[in-house]
Structure formats: structure tokens, C-alpha cells
């Protein structure tokens, strides 16, 4: 091809090979981007709703809420005698289905709590007063080893202006072991919501 | 392809390959130094002489053998000795004087031997009698706030170590300063 031919080709209609290449490129790029994201189907947005005693599984934990109660005395005081107050105690059966040891704190980080009738959110860090595995009559252990089923107690204080909660909504967010924006090294990172539990608060 | 052009490609490769390797390795060097505590500036002094770093004069005052202070103390590990180290730091200018009152950064004093082994200070309180020396580079005034050391005033620090008996006769001192990334090595 001489240079005059080339410039003519540029000015005229696009050659068939260029059209085909462009079409293949667009198609391949779309597929390459859409495939890992779960295909071209519309993503599912509906989060299942469950009740007390029903099991739910994410990538790291399976949980079964066993008991929710509002207590007037701290059931798991860190030091000394139990102080009076309003304590929301959530007992769960938990299995770590991930590949490595996790902690009760890791689990608590995945659970978002809303109480009714106020509709207020319980701060999962600030309002937490205790979190531990129930074993040998204590709640001090923190580790959740893979494939070992444990009973876990999470205790939250109910913030002062809120009325006594009668219902608790727990949304469990998934954790996935993958690389992230901050580092290409894999670790457990927050994923999608797995389940919403509608629970009655006992006394 | 003419030989001239081949030569150009060859020379280009000769420059590019080391450049690419350097670009990949050099950013790691600093990370490695920060992580490992190696690298950075170093000043060395021995036989009671002072090592000066950023206007602070460092001097090894003494390394003596200590003994357990209480009769019913937890015994020492077998074949070990207590080393009581006293180091002094004297600011020689205003900037060095203010360095003692800084709120961030650390100054850690280690015992080391000729074989390159390094020991951290012991937190046991029964290894030496109460001393008039400070325990760290920082100085607190009566209100327990950080205070500078006046220019020319000697600030002495004592630290105790439990070291293998075979290392005792060969002990020296390493002061690692962060974030300055500097090490002061003092030998008796």
C-alpha cells in the first residue's frame, strides 16, 4: 500500500475489516466487563427476611438468632458487679464457615441493629457493652475458629432517650475474602446484605 | 537491519533494563529500611567518646552487672546475667534541646553484642536498685508535661537487660531513633 492509497482509504467509507474489528472489540469488552459482575441479568436486590431460630449463611459466618431480651442488669459485666441499666442481650448460634479464625468482634461488625418502636439504630461499636463466646460459664472468649459451633452473646446498651424496645431488626452484612482498593492483598471485606431478621424482644 | 541500528537497540536495552529494575526496586528500599529499622543514618562512638547526632551528644556512661533485688524474686533464666546500662544525652543547641520535649517518635535503647544479637530492655523492676537516672529520652516536669533539656545539661538514662552470660563481656549499646531513622552505636 502506498501513502496515497492509504490517505484515500482514510477519506472513503470504512473498510469491512475495520467494522468487524470494531464490532468484535465492543462486544468482547462488554462481555469481559459484564461477565465477572454477574452477567447482564438484573442484580437481585431483595434481601430475605427471617425470624428467630432460622439459619442464614454468608461467606464467613452462619448465624441463628436464639434469644433476644431486654435486661435491667448487665448480663456480662467486664469488671466487678453487674451495673443496672437497659441492656439488649442477643444470643446467637454461630459457625465460622470461613477458612481462618475470626473473632466475635468481626461478627458484631457485620450486624446492624435497629430497634422499634423508636426506629433508632443501635451503634454497633459505641453502644456495645460486651461480646463473647458463651463457654464454661463465662463470656470472655473472643475467637471463633472455623467449623466449631459456638453460642455467642452480644450485649448492647439502649441509649437513654429511646423507649424500651419491643422489636429488633438485625441486618447481617456479608464478609468476603478478597482484594480491595487499598491493597491487592486479600482480607475479609464487607459485602452485600445477606438477611434481615425481625425479632421480638423478650424480657 | 544495519549494524548501526542493531547497536542502537543494544545500547537502548543496556540503559532500559537497569532503569526498569531500579524503578521497581528503589521504592522498596525505603519501605524495607522503615520496616526493618536497618539503614538510615548511623553514628558510632567508643571508649567513652561522644557520638553527636542532630546536636545531641550521646555517651555510654557504664555497663555494670546487676543482681536480683529481692530474695524471693522470680529467678533469672539459666546462664544469664543482668546488664545495667547508663547512657547520657546532652543537647548542644536549641533545636536539640527541644528534641527532648517532642510528643511523637521514639528513642529505644538496646543492648547488643559483637555477633549482632540485640536485646530489648527488661520490664522487670527487681533487676536494679532505684536509680537517679531517667527511664527514657523524654523528660517530664513537675506537672508531668514534656519539657526540653537545657542546652549543655546532661540527661542520663538507665535501662536493664537480661542477656546470656556469654554475651555480657562483649556488650555495647544501640539507640534507635524514630522517625529520624537514625541509630547511635556506643561501645565501651
Amino acid at each position: 500500500m502506498t501513502s496515497s492509497e492509504r490517505s484515500q482509504g482514510r477519506r472513503g467509507a470504512p473498510k469491512p475489516w475495520a467494522v468487524i474489528t470494531a464490532a468484535v472489540f465492543v462486544l468482547a469488552t462488554t462481555l469481559a466487563l459484564a461477565w465477572p459482575a454477574g452477567g447482564l441479568e438484573e442484580a437481585e436486590v431483595e434481601v430475605p427476611r427471617r425470624r428467630l431460630g432460622e439459619v442464614s449463611a454468608g461467606h464467613r459466618f452462619t448465624i441463628v438468632p436464639a434469644k433476644v431480651s431486654l435486661l435491667a442488669v448487665d448480663p456480662a459485666p467486664a469488671f466487678g458487679d453487674a451495673k443496672p441499666g437497659r441492656f439488649l442481650a442477643v444470643e446467637l448460634r454461630v459457625e465460622n464457615i470461613g477458612h481462618d479464625t475470626a473473632t466475635v468482634r468481626d461478627l458484631a461488625q457485620d450486624l446492624h441493629l435497629t430497634v422499634s418502636p423508636s426506629g433508632a439504630t443501635i451503634d454497633r461499636f459505641k453502644d456495645m457493652s460486651a461480646a463473647g463466646v458463651i463457654r464454661d460459664g463465662a463470656h470472655t472468649r473472643d475467637q471463633l475458629h472455623p467449623r466449631l459451633k459456638e453460642r455467642v452473646l452480644l450485649v448492647y446498651t439502649v441509649p437513654r432517650p429511646l423507649p424500651d424496645p419491643t422489636h429488633l431488626k438485625i441486618t447481617m452484612r456479608d464478609s468476603e475474602y478478597k482484594e480491595g482498593f487499598d491493597s491487592e492483598l486479600s482480607r475479609w471485606r464487607p459485602g452485600e446484605d445477606v438477611v434481615i431478621y425481625d425479632l421480638e424482644v423478650g424480657r | 537491519m544495519t549494524w548501526r541500528r542493531q547497536l542502537a537497540y543494544g545500547l537502548g536495552l543496556l540503559v532500559l533494563v537497569p532503569a526498569v529494575i531500579a524503578a521497581a526496586v528503589l521504592p522498596w528500599r525505603e519501605k524495607y529500611e522503615v520496616r526493618s529499622g536497618k539503614g538510615g543514618r548511623e553514628v558510632v562512638a567508643s571508649q567513652g567518646r561522644a557520638a553527636t547526632l542532630d546536636g545531641v551528644e550521646w555517651r555510654l556512661k557504664s555497663i555494670t552487672e546487676g543482681r536480683l533485688q529481692e530474695e524471693f524474686s522470680r529467678p533469672l533464666p539459666p546462664r544469664t546475667k543482668i546488664a545495667v546500662v547508663v547512657v547520657s544525652a546532652t543537647p548542644r543547641d536549641a533545636r536539640a534541646s527541644a528534641w527532648f520535649a517532642r510528643e511523637t517518635g521514639s528513642c529505644k535503647i538496646y543492648a547488643a553484642d559483637g555477633a549482632g544479637r540485640v536485646w530489648e530492655r527488661s520490664f522487670r523492676t527487681d533487676l536494679a536498685p532505684d536509680s537517679p537516672h531517667a527511664v527514657s529520652c523524654q523528660v517530664l516536669d513537675e506537672d508531668y508535661t514534656l519539657a526540653p533539656v537545657p542546652v549543655g545539661k546532661e540527661h542520663t538514662i538507665q535501662a536493664e537487660y537480661v542477656v546470656p552470660a556469654d554475651a555480657f563481656s562483649d556488650l555495647r549499646v544501640e539507640v534507635r531513633l524514630s522517625p529520624d531513622r537514625a541509630t547511635v552505636r556506643l561501645a565501651p
Partner: protein
């Protein structure tokens, strides 16, 4: 025509080679993982930072810890079994803490050492002063066979990953037959001794 065929074959071969290289490329987790020295029980395994020898492996249903005053504490239970690995560790040049002690099962699950006080992984080791003591793990009984002990400096996963740091991996020699014999003869309670400087 022949040239087209050759070109197509070369293109296919290059594509296959490309895929092979992509597949064979280690992941970032593998590339930055600690560098492991391997060994068996009863043998000293050396790294630049520390040396470790596994002396004994004992499973138990419950354990009782001995505190620094020599008193035996209340039994501790587990939903699985306890695995008590008695080991000797020494730091070589700098102080060292075997925080990242974990048991890896055949299925690839990683069990961090249990958060129990007064165990070997909680002690700061000084160079030249070896320490003997227990490392405690809780695992399902069926995962005892084939377990491997891995020791690094840091406890966390990739977040605190000891980039290219030293690691020791010890095959605990738990064949199917040996593991099932250990489980059959497993004591209901095992008293675990203190950490001792040697």
C-alpha cells in the same frame, strides 16, 4: 493458504501460552507470603529470625492451665478438641514473638492459637534464651490427621501479613492411623505446664 494456517496456529499457541502464564502467575497473597522453612517434629527448624522445634503433640477434650505460681486452673472446654503442641523456640538476633502460630488442616483451614494466657505465643523471646512451652489450638477432631503447624511473627491475616518475613512449617506427622490412635487414647483432661526459659 498455508501461510494463513501457520499464522493461525502460531496465534493459537501464543494465546495458549498467554493463558498458561496468567494461570501460573502467583497471586499477591502468594507473592508477599512469608518465606517458610520446613521440617518435622523433633527436629530444629531454622530461619534467619528464630529457631523452632516441636517436641510433642497431644490432643485432649479439656485442658487445665498452670499459672505462673504453679496453681492449676479450672478446666477449659472446647466444641472441638484441644491440640497441645509443646515446642522450644529461640530468637536468633532480635527479640521475637511467635504471635502468628497457627494449625493448618488438610482442608486448608487455618486455626490461630487459642487466646489463652501463659502460652508460648504470648512470650517475648530474647536472643540466646530459648523458651519451652505449649501452643494451644482448638480444631474439630476429624481434622487432626494431616495437621501442619505454621509459625510467623504476626497474628493477623493479610492485614498484618509479615511481607516476605520468616516462617516455620512443621508437619506434625499425624497420619490417619496415628491420629485416630491419639484420639482413641485422648485424655478427658490434660494439665498444661508453664512456659519455661531454658
Amino acid at each position: 493458504m498455508r501461510r494463513t494456517l501457520v499464522a493461525a496456529a502460531v496465534a493459537a499457541a501464543l494465546f495458549a501460552a498467554n493463558v498458561a502464564v496468567q494461570r501460573a502467575t502467583p497471586s499477591p497473597d502468594q507473592r508477599y507470603a512469608p518465606i517458610a522453612s520446613r521440617g518435622g517434629t523433633g527436629h530444629q527448624v531454622d530461619t534467619t529470625t528464630f529457631q523452632l522445634r516441636v517436641d510433642r503433640v497431644q490432643p485432649a477434650r479439656t485442658i487445665r492451665m498452670t499459672d505462673p505460681y504453679g496453681l492449676v486452673r479450672e478446666p477449659r472446654s472446647t466444641p472441638g478438641i484441644w491440640v497441645v503442641v509443646s515446642a522450644t523456640v529461640a530468637a536468633t538476633t532480635e527479640t521475637f514473638q511467635a504471635q502468628g502460630a497457627r494449625l493448618r488442616t488438610r482442608a486448608g483451614l487455618e486455626y490461630e492459637a487459642s487466646s489463652v494466657l501463659d502460652t508460648l505465643d504470648k512470650v517475648t523471646l530474647q536472643p540466646g534464651i530459648p523458651v519451652y512451652g505449649p501452643l494451644l489450638f482448638e480444631i474439630p477432631a476429624r481434622d487432626l490427621a494431616g495437621a501442619v503447624l505454621s509459625v510467623t511473627r504476626h497474628a493477623d491475616g493479610a492485614g498484618g501479613l509479615d511481607v516476605l518475613g520468616p516462617a516455620v512449617e512443621v508437619d506434625l506427622g499425624l497420619s490417619d492411623a496415628y491420629a485416630s490412635r491419639l484420639l482413641k487414647e485422648m485424655p478427658s483432661s490434660l494439665t498444661v505446664g508453664q512456659v519455661r526459659e531454658l
